[in-house]
Amino acid sequence: MAVAVHEKKQVLDMAALRKDFPILERPMNGRPMVFLDSAASSQKPISVLQTLDHYYRHTHANVHRGVYQLSQEATDAFEAARRTIARFIHAPTDKEVLFVRGTTEGINLVASSYGRSFLQPGDEILISTMEHHSNIVPWQMIAEQMGARIKVWPITPAGELIWEAADELMGPKVKIVAITHISNALGTINPVKDIIELAHSRGIPVLLDGAQAIPHLKVDVQALDVDFYTFSGHKMFGPTGIGILYGKEKWLDQMPPYHGGGEMIERVTFEKTTYNELPHKFEAGTPDISGAVGLAAAVDYMESIGHEAIGQHEHALLEYATEQLLGIDGLRIIGTAAQKASVISFMVEGLHPYDIGALLDKMGIAVRTGHHCTQPLMDWYGIPGTVRASFAFYNSFEDVERLVEGVKRAVQMLA
């Protein structure tokens, strides 16, 4: 096969940028570490670490509680973080931006609260073949409770939704469409604007699982006109344990609270409780204040680099890695959609992903192996799992070269 080497177009100052991520400097198994598992969880820039440290050293108290100044400062920091994130995703109002623990909790909240309000026996929930378990299981749970059923939007072998199926799938019984913006296992970027337009033309709201999209793309919830959009902080260079559920006020107003407790109430008696207004109605208990503040710092960091530069760099990495990996005999890429994020799942003929992953690890290269929490998708492809290399903007062309070299050595050893 004639391989035309892609131009290694350098749009970012990698040396300076990588210095912002101290963990990337640590050695791994005697080699400089190559971290290619950002789709599972990304690393954190110094500015996020410093923000967390500063918050706990100088600002921490419980929020929305105290009359004293420190509590007010903590509340201000927490609500300022909400505004930063609202601006980041272009939410019309910060009332529609709820702090949750992560994407999983965001989906569970919608499945449970929207489901209890709007699902009737016989209704349908439309998901797709490429969903993460966290966008399957919560819907199965509420479907069972309400007597609804799950419908699955099929995909092509390349890993793209079969668009021709959409018309028939979005029938009158469908009460919500829940689809991933970008597939964590395949990298497919779904045509979410078209999906939302079609669903809305039939009065169906749409939830997007944005966990994999938010680290890569500019997300504008108003331009998308999406009803619910949820993502995790730790995949976008922020802390673990914090995430966002954006929801349109018209839906959130009609949905019952998800958790009960402090903060989400207006007035409590033993007979009856009335609920607080948005967003607090959905934020029972002391929130992850430091997480929220850290997430806002991650937003600032991403904006300082810029979505355009991030997109260009990652696309160049994706093209280069795809081309170089395909030069390895017996290597097959799973997920070859026309629109892809910088995620490459692959298998090598006759070799198990675990063995490749274990050997790469000893060469200092961290990749994910296995089913990537997408067992139905792996079953659809008839494979037990893949090796997945996922790239963030802090990955370099050298990282790609180390990966390719590592896979070649692993194949040599095992085959």
């Binding site: 198994n29 005697g30 070799l351 198990h352 992903p353 675990y354 063995d355 274990a358 050997l359 000893k362 060469m363 192996t369 296995g370 089913h371 792996m378 037990p384 799992g385 050595r409 050893m413 095992l414």
Partner: protein, 141 residues
């Protein structure tokens, strides 16, 4: 590549991975045992014929990493023709050696080849997957 890792993926293991012993599906087997690890997706079927308190015939089929496939291949080669009690003792001895910190526990060469896995706790389940499944079967036999 580290020395430790080379020991884990040593030639004896790679040979069993490339050319597993009694690697065949059998529709007519007297018993079929499934060894499945939901975390990594490895899945093997062990096919057995039991006769006169013995494992008269054993084969396996399925999919797993080099370590789990080799460990299953060695299991099958060790168990073929063994009495139930003797088989259970061999399994026990092997699993015990894997848990021990003793430098060179007395084991057949084929079994001792897996001792370097003690340096890789995350790979221990690859070694023991089929062994544990057969142990459970024999305990209930």
């Amino acid at each position: 590549m580290s020395e430790k890792l080379k020991q884990l993926y040593q030639e004896l293991i790679l040979q069993h991975h490339r050319h597993p012993v009694h690697f065949e599906k059998r529709e007519d087997a007297g018993a079929v045992i499934e060894a499945y690890n939901p975390i990594c997706g490895d899945r093997f079927q062990l096919y057995l014929d039991m006769a006169d308190e013995k494992i008269a015939r054993i084969s396996f089929y399925g999919y797993g990493c080099a370590i789990s496939k080799a460990a299953t291949s060695v299991l099958v080669s060790q168990m073929d023709g063994q009495g139930v009690i003797q088989a259970a003792q061999t399994i026990e001895r092997f699993l015990h050696a894997l848990q021990s910190t003793e430098e060179n526990p007395i084991l057949e060469n084929e079994l001792a080849a897996f001792l370097p896995a003690r340096q890789f706790p995350e790979r221990m389940q690859c070694v023991t997957l089929s062994w544990e499944a057969l142990k459970t079967f024999l305990a209930g036999y």
